[in-house]
């Protein structure tokens, strides 16, 4: 295996960025998440925040710059090749998505341009196991990998001024869910009734990097039932553990 030593970059006086040029895939993600856990343990006593993206880890220091120098020092001495590539503990979440044309406002266009039945688009979109790489862009927005290549479709030429909260979209080879109403350039194919971000909860999002997400197609009726159940706080997100 190639050396796993990252490019270590100081990001200002309060953060250190570790960056790799490896391929974005699940194996590398698991390796990155294992390393992230090691760093969190190692720096437990300092006030730091550690996040990952596809190919980076950012260590942010809340207060003093001095610690950043320490970080440079131990990171340079760290043996990155020793970090495990083992799978991490992960959950699988089932998210309901309603692909009714009322929500899937770009389904017709994609269907025509791809010469693909709408039902096939839905089948392909619900067939994959998606992997959560990280959250960013908006609070609760999931960066998911694993969409079927056959669904890849360019962004809209002109972004929409506003799309609904929960809109499920496709942009190039990515798929995602808008956690709030927002301007959007993505092609919208459905809507997920389950809120993805709750600032009033100590854990504002139930997901963690490495988790699996599956989309489950629901009818408009089921969609409305779920919305109602959420309102009455009776809805429970479906989840499978590792060994289920």
């Amino acid at each position: 295996m190639r050396s796993r030593k990252p490019n270590i970059i100081r990001l200002g006086d309060r953060a250190v960025l570790l960056e790799w040029d490896f391929e974005i895939n699940e194996k590398n993600l698991f390796w990155l998440l294992n390393l992230k856990e090691l760093i969190i343990k190692k720096l437990y006593e300092l006030k730091v925040e550690v996040i990952n993206t596809y190919n980076s880890i950012l260590i942010s220091y809340v207060y003093s710059i001095e610690y950043v120098y320490d970080a440079d020092f131990w990171l340079n001495a760290f043996d990155f090749n020793e970090v495990s590539v083992e799978n991490i503990q992960q959950d699988t979440f089932i998210l309901p998505v309603c692909y009714d044309l009322q929500f899937g406002i770009d389904l017709n266009e994609i269907s025509i341009k791809k010469d693909m039945e709408i039902s096939e688009i839905i089948n392909l979109h619900t067939a994959s196991d998606y992997t959560l790489y990280f959250m960013g862009f908006l609070p609760g927005f999931l960066y998911l990998g694993g969409m079927d290549d056959r669904l890849a479709f360019p962004r809209k030429n002109q972004p929409r001024k506003s799309i609904e909260k929960g809109a499920v979209g496709i942009a190039e080879n990515q798929t995602g869910i808008y956690p709030k109403s927002s301007p959007a350039g993505w092609q919208i194919i459905g809507n997920c009734p389950v809120p993805l971000f709750n600032p009033k909860s100590e854990r504002p999002s139930p997901f963690s990097p490495g988790d699996k997400i599956k989309f489950n197609a629901v009818s408009l009726e089921e969609y409305l039932d779920i919305k109602q159940a959420i309102k009455q706080e009776k809805y429970e997100l479906k989840k499978h553990g590792n060994n289920d």
Binding site: G12, D13, L17, E19, V62, L138
Partner: protein, 285 residues
């Protein structure tokens, strides 16, 4: 309980502390005082912790009435300040009593002032912070008629006439301290030179999320794989816009990160108005 009544809110006044730490993994912006140095100074003057919530006042100030006795201090941007019939100054602690009225008149220097009150503001705390932010707190700025609760201090420190010799070098100057960013090396030599030779102008499209520069900065850099960004990250768009991310910025981005402001650099930029020009000063780590 001591409260502050908002008679008029000013252009954009928000409650801020040092922001949210530990929630970037959920995509939550850090938020917090744009000019953290001045906010800390005001807090210290009234015997608060530096993370206690203060009022961040932008461009035009509020008129406030106190309901209860306390002490206050104002730091950062220089407004003409009036407490009842008296003129008061920045960077000094003043006693206030029930019924006292504080008016922020004309802005003389800088762009953002901080009002600290003994005990700190006690507005809604979510995800470990009172910093107002659209996706998180119910209010995004203070409004006319609000009554802002203040945390009561069991043992109030005597701060009358206190002043803190807390030197902040140059937050009103036009030099912005920064470091090379992760994609700085992708710029050509002449482009790097231009960054430090030319001045840049703060554009109108600037807010707590980002401050843009007016000048076009021609470049041929491509987007990057979406990666981490932090307050102070300077992004360069393919269209040639320099976007300096500020406290409410997203946690990830896809534009090349060519420069990174220091903490002081962020505070200095936070005191600039649209139309002000700045120079970038490169620091070596």
């Amino acid at each position: 309980m001591t409260e502050i009544e908002v008679i008029s809110p000013g252009f954009y006044s928000t409650i801020q502390d040092m922001g949210r730490v530990g929630f970037a993994k959920y995509g939550v912006p850090k938020s917090g005082c744009m000019d953290s140095f001045s906010a800390k100074k005001a807090n210290l003057l009234v015997g608060n912790d530096s993370n206690d919530a203060v009022l961040e006042i932008t461009m035009t100030g509020p008129t406030l009435v106190f309901h209860g006795d306390s002490s206050i201090a104002i730091s950062g941007a220089q407004f003409d300040l009036q407490l009842n019939d008296c003129h008061i100054e920045n960077d000094k602690a003043y006693k206030v009593s029930a019924g006292d009225k504080l008016v922020f008149n004309s802005l003389r220097e800088g762009f953002r002032a901080y009002l600290a009150i003994s005990g700190g503001f006690q507005t809604m705390k979510l995800l470990d912070s009172r910093s107002m932010y659209e996706e998180i707190t119910d209010s995004i700025k203070i409004e006319r008629g609000d009554r802002l609760p203040i945390i009561s201090k069991s043992e109030e420190k005597e701060n009358k006439g206190a002043s803190v010799n807390f030197e902040i070098k140059g937050i009103f100057e036009n030099e912005i301290n920064l470091y090379e960013g992760p994609e700085f090396y992708l710029l050509r030599g002449d482009q790097k030179e231009l960054l430090f030779k030319n001045s840049f102008t703060v554009s109108q499209s600037s807010n707590r999320m980002a401050i843009q520069m007016k000048e076009d900065f021609q470049n041929n850099l491509k987007g990057i794989v979406t990666g981490p960004v932090v307050p102070g990250t300077v992004q360069l768009t393919p269209g040639g816009t320099l976007i300096i991310l500020m406290r409410d910025c997203q946690v990830t981005g896809g534009y090349p990160r060519i420069l990174q402001l220091s903490e002081l650099g962020i505070c200095t930029l936070a005191q600039k108005r649209p139309g002000d020009s700045v120079f970038f000063k490169l620091l070596t780590p």
